[in-house]
Symmetry: C2
């Protein structure tokens, strides 16, 4: 079975063809048209799909799996990605179905990353796993009892809104003290700048470079984010009795700078016996995880698709 | 099918006979022998079982469902309840099986309460639910996608160790800032006493009575616990995309004194759109929930038993 995989985010439109073994036969990336209207984004996506199909020698297409930034109505696949203002209530799933004439499955992009890490990455063989992405936002997906947990509205696994500090900063969700309000990339950069840091572009990537070079404020900014992730994971693992947590996304590239304080905060808070043993590891699949997980919605639907 | 149900805690040994409709045909309660050794507790339990069987006219027994305080090895049912020092690594499941010659299923007592509320109580018909107990400890169980979530070691749903304040008090688990460290009954009473409250026995029940009578410190103590529960639920609902939360246990008897501040803290923190709608309600089955849920492990095993 050959599946077209699509991974849609605020900065890139990724498309690929995936075989039944979960291998990417072709892959194409194009920037998301900045400030594009609904049809401009759609046209860029369709062009990207054609490129991916060409790259794979135009195999007969049997189905499409898609990951897209949230929020969305699920499983209907009507999407309004936070970072893509051109798509508001855009009927992505049905548009793809009409355009390409094959069944389409669609889920949150972070859920697809979690499915990928479980199917072919760092979480293989574990029945209870959180896969999370620390990037512009903080998202995730849960595998529980070997099955993807969708939740009532398809938002299961959204670890970014676990409260890590009830007195913490406001979150764009309307709450405050959420993990995302502290650990998402832009929040890390903003915090560093507010503390007087000015050693590069105001991005989490630049803060990471500066921290590696020994800048104290940059180090403190990554440490603060890492501790917030550790606290959220202590809560999550205690609540769900997980075996493993896989962490991907831009900020995970900070490596030990992030995972060190993360592990310390986790150990301080995860006191209950069964929460002491799970492994917290970097994701294994890198930027291909989104496409592989989108394909998993189809190719391993018995575990990852209940739409 | 007739099932013997057992619910074992630090203060009471409850036994009952339950028919296939989930109705208690007979019920017996006896105090847990205080400071009893392993065999003294066991003898009291067996005597309680005989009483329950007598009360139901000694029906032919087909299976036993049991809830017991944790921690335990699951599903083997070797138990070491925190509040029963006489049982350490007590092989409860196999002892029951030998004694009564029928299959035995056993789970955490708070998990049984959650199963009961889903099967016959306030959570009926909802696919994604947390059932929690706020009592001497704070425990719970999760129904996700219509199935009980066990977790890797049977501890899924243990909401008591969600971190609600990273700077909060030490918890008996070894962590700190856990929900249980703030909201469990003895912690509520201790906090009130430390603030100068001395208007009754040093128990959460007395604090509740005093709060109802308008005592400011007692009110603040219940409010503090309620807010802690609200924060933990904001995290839990955001993470799992739940439809309903049912709250039972002694402190839930405080009614609006608890649920008022709980709802306020929940609303402050649960900003993400899908977390704004779930209902947080009192449990419906009262003190019978433990027995009914123990029976559900057998009578509705397709949903509540994966051991």
């Amino acid at each position: 079975m050959t599946v077209l995989a699509i991974d849609i985010g605020g900065t890139k439109l990724a498309t690929g063809v995936v075989n039944a073994a979960g291998e990417l036969i072709s892959e194409h990336r194009t920037p998301t048209p900045p400030d594009g209207d609904a049809e401009a984004i759609w046209s860029a996506l369709v062009a990207g799909v054609e490129q991916a199909l060409d790259g794979a020698g135009r195999p007969p297409l049997e189905a499409i799996g898609t990951g897209c930034g949230g929020p969305m109505h699920w499983p209907s696949g009507v999407v309004s990605p936070l970072t893509m203002h051109g798509w508001r209530d855009f009927p992505l799933r049905s548009r793809l179905q009409e355009q390409f004439g094959v069944p389409v499955r669609l889920h949150n992009d972070a859920v697809c990353v979690a499915a990928a890490e479980h199917w072919r990455g760092a979480g293989q063989g574990r029945a209870n796993m959180l896969g999370m992405v620390v990037s512009t936002g903080v998202g995730g997906g849960l595998i529980l009892g070997g099955q993807l947990h969708d939740g009532a509205t398809g938002n299961g696994g959204h670890v970014g809104h676990v409260v890590v500090d009830p007195a913490g900063p406001p979150c764009r969700c309307g709450g405050h003290g959420c993990l995302e309000a502290i650990a998402r990339g832009p929040a890390v950069a903003e915090w560093a700048v507010r503390q007087g840091w000015d050693d590069g572009e105001h991005t989490a990537a630049a803060v990471t470079v500066s921290a590696r070079a020994g800048n104290e404020i940059a180090l403190a900014a990554i440490t603060r984010a890492g501790r917030a992730v550790g606290i959220a994971l202590a809560s999550t693992v205690a609540l769900l009795d997980l075996e493993i947590v896989c962490i991907g996304g831009g900020l995970a590239q900070a490596g030990d700078l992030l995972f060190g304080p993360l592990g310390e905060a986790y150990t301080e808070h995860a006191g209950v016996h069964y929460a002491r043993t799970p492994r917290v590891v970097p994701a294994a699949l890198g930027q291909r995880a989104g496409l592989i997980g989108a394909a998993a919605l189809v190719l391993a639907g018995e575990r990852y698709w209940h739409g």
